[in-house]
Symmetry: C2
Subunit: 221 residues, 2 copies
Amino acid sequence: MKSYEVSDQLMHYIIDHKLKEGDKLPNEYELADIFQVSRKAIRQAVSLLVDESILEIRRGKGTFLTDHSKFQDPTFRAAYHIAQLDRLIEAMELRCLIEPSCAACATRSPQPMRESIQEGFDLADQEHESDAYYRDFYFHQKIIECSPNSLIRSILPIVSYSISHVMKLEPEIVREQVRFDHQKINEAIQNQNEEEAEQMMLSHLKKIHSILISMRKDRSI
Amino acid sequence: MKSYEVSDQLMHYIIDHKLKEGDKLPNEYELADIFQVSRKAIRQAVSLLVDESILEIRRGKGTFLTDHSKFQDPTFRAAYHIAQLDRLIEAMELRCLIEPSCAACATRSPQPMRESIQEGFDLADQEHESDAYYRDFYFHQKIIECSPNSLIRSILPIVSYSISHVMKLEPEIVREQVRFDHQKINEAIQNQNEEEAEQMMLSHLKKIHSILISMRKDRSI
């Protein structure tokens, strides 16, 4: 994970836990454990937020939230959200280049692998909002894992990152679109229709990309 | 760089420097400096070669080449080359998905960026075999840097890795092909012909991919 991604997560942690000015953050070891990254990554992320005067390191005492007002400032929050949207848009662009070929590959994969995609789809089709993110990721993950190319499979963290963040943005619109698209992609894979699988995956990702682009426009105004 | 990539480089270092059984390798600090990677990466790479009984760590004395016979053994060298070809083939597959879109992007980039691509091409067209790798990489690098997407630009190390290794394999055939293809790609970019640039880049990378696939077949027999 890149340091700006970890600092995003730190920002979310601060917002989610309603931390206030002067509050102390968990220590480096605890944060590394919470976000499942190295302590070095935590140090870099903290340093990014220190540069923005959001956090302050007090020697021997720990890391403290200095300027809570920023989180109340609509301009800052808007800028923060736009920066986040930019990263999501980049992630979706990369996925548009790579994942359609994974879907094509999935149509040619052995029966057990196609079954696990079906299973991933069936799971996501059930209505349990609590783990919706995980189930959406599971479906994409199973498709990407069909690629015999380990470098291509290495985009999984980016896929996971973009799915989790997109779902936080506009869950309702996205959910409906996603369910419909996944059905089409799954059908094409199960019918071993290579061209259709590739096209459906591309159109699925491009739709989410467009939604993000229009959200970015709305927020920049 | 992944540890197996570093261990590949270590193997090449051993071959290039004609090290013999019992010879001592440079220390961790020196190796990290030679390959421009962290000491941790060196330790992991050394440990991979220790597992294969190629290197031996003698406590307090350093790392030594134990089994030089392996490098003379044609079966071992063949297996080693095939593994390396597999990694190159994977890298070329990923590049086929990503770089054509970078070439398309380059046709739409501002004049100074297109000029730096022209410059990269002109440089590569001169005949100085000593830095041929760097000049080939420079041309691709300038094209990829036209992408405004930082995630897409993050494939640069993979591009550098695959160019340096492909050039070690069959420099003559590849050189001729590469020079001709680069000319076509550069023309399309300078003429701002988006579709042509995208297609030419794809066909360029696919040709190298096919050369690698046929080399792999020859060596597997």
